[in-house]
Symmetry: C3
Subunit: 209 residues, 3 copies
């Protein structure tokens, strides 16, 4: 089970690095900027989680292969993008896999040291969404998670389901895939049917801004 989770963690790392590289490419960043943004996107969420919980050094210092995989994925994206146009939707779906896996891994990492459901749900979300937030801020964009289809909510639901399954002592080989599939399912449904949450009513908008 652990080895499957670890494999998925590496897949999530590569996938987030690819999304970082693509955003960097669209913003006309250079080769090295592509690699840096790929790495930052891939490890940003887990870094904030470790810093906030007081785990140090952070995970990619003790396990440098995360950075190596992220850098390779970003370089690979750069090479491939010189030949083929990558379909937008394929990336969004891959990003959903990263979100789902990182949510579960973030929850577990936190639960092992804090033993708290509430904190671990928040740390699962943090691990899942913060890399993409940093990516968008560095690229000069308002982070996607704030104004697109349901994103962070998918992560919240997946992490909460994991908390429920631990509370009721469901076996890990059942609970972990279930939480990953729930996050993935909600996010892909949101992409597919353009599901969004309500925003402030237009009448509220300040005329002076």
């Amino acid at each position: 089970m652990d080895s499957i989770i670890h494999a998925l963690d590496l897949v999530g790392t590569a996938v987030f690095a690819i999304t970082g590289a693509l955003v960097a490419g669209r913003k006309r960043m250079d080769t090295f900027g592509v690699v840096i943004l790929g790495c930052v996107t891939a490890v940003g969420g887990g870094t904030l989680r470790d810093v906030v919980l007081g785990h140090h050094p952070v995970f990619w210092i003790s396990s440098p292969h995360y950075l190596a995989i992220a850098a390779l994925a970003a370089i690979g994206t750069f090479v491939v993008a010189h030949r083929w146009r990558l379909p937008e939707m394929a990336i969004a779906y891959a990003d959903a896999v990263g979100l789902a896996v990182f949510t579960v891994i973030g929850f577990q990492t936190s639960f092992q040291t804090t033993g708290s459901f509430g904190i671990s749900i928040i740390m699962g979300m943090t691990t899942g969404v913060v890399g993409g937030i940093i990516r968008d801020v560095l690229a000069g964009k308002i982070p996607l998670i704030f104004h697109k289809e349901i994103y962070a909510l998918a992560s919240l639901l997946g992490a909460s389901l994991l908390a429920v399954s631990i509370h009721f002592h469901w076996p890990a080989p059942l609970a972990l895939p279930l939480a990953i599939l729930a996050t993935l399912g909600v996010r892909i449904a949101a992409l597919h049917w353009n599901l969004t949450l309500p925003t402030f009513p237009p009448k509220y908008l300040s005329p002076a801004e």
Copy 2:
């Protein structure tokens, strides 16, 4: 005294969460984005303070009710904004209360572990202003504190007054309210009379930018 400070801390948390929710609403973020930006605004300053000082886990991990209050305040803002238009100035005045309270609490938290006036003044300012900086960056704006009426300076003055009062052994029930009122007074005076600090002279501005 401690319970009054703690009560004010919770008020500051709620008030900053409301400002985060309002900025999120104006940027057309969705319900969940409103809650996240509210929480980040409310706990951002104290988080950086704790991380820099090496207090871990950070305060909202050991005391989760801060996040709960911030989330409730953000949701409440969202609900209320569907019915009434909140006056801009009321928010700016409430934000001044948050700035004043967080400055004093940040100073105290730091002074208890470092015993240094200089560091604690900086940590007071950090606690007071960083949440708003993160809020504005995530919303794609240049942080308000850099180009609006006197803001960070009010926090610096309040924290410095607290340092002076501790140096001269003034009793806490006198020193703490005084520092809060000084910060609040300077900030509200700046809002009321549009007090600003000088900027670079226009002739300096680079033509190429």
Copy 3:
């Protein structure tokens, strides 16, 4: 040797504070914003390095003179800019000195605690480039390092050269200046001849963005 490195560290701190103050001035930030952005630019990279490695409190808490020098340099920049127009290129060259010195200091700080070449190269780059990234994000710009002449790559080369020289037991009085000069040389060559790295091919650019 150590005192030369320490002197250069203070020079790097002042120089980065000057670049922060100039960016703040161009964005019409007020006097206090100029000082804050100067300080954040000067200590931002070392702060992230210390937080990620788990060194706490961070260096400018234990050695407050870094912040004092940064604040003085920012104020000095503000005063001077009221009289003379500072030449752009002089700043860019000075910034290159900061990049070179901070890369070497970041590498050393990390190598003393981790003993890892790979991690220390990354920490050297982090110390060298992150202050400027935070400066640009707070000023509402896409960070320079992502789309201008070779910048982070110069830092990578300098830090890698230092790793090689430690591996082969070169004496520190040879290795440290060499790494600083290599970083500086690559960055200044890039500035002088407008050397850039390749970007994504235009055909890749998404039409919808």
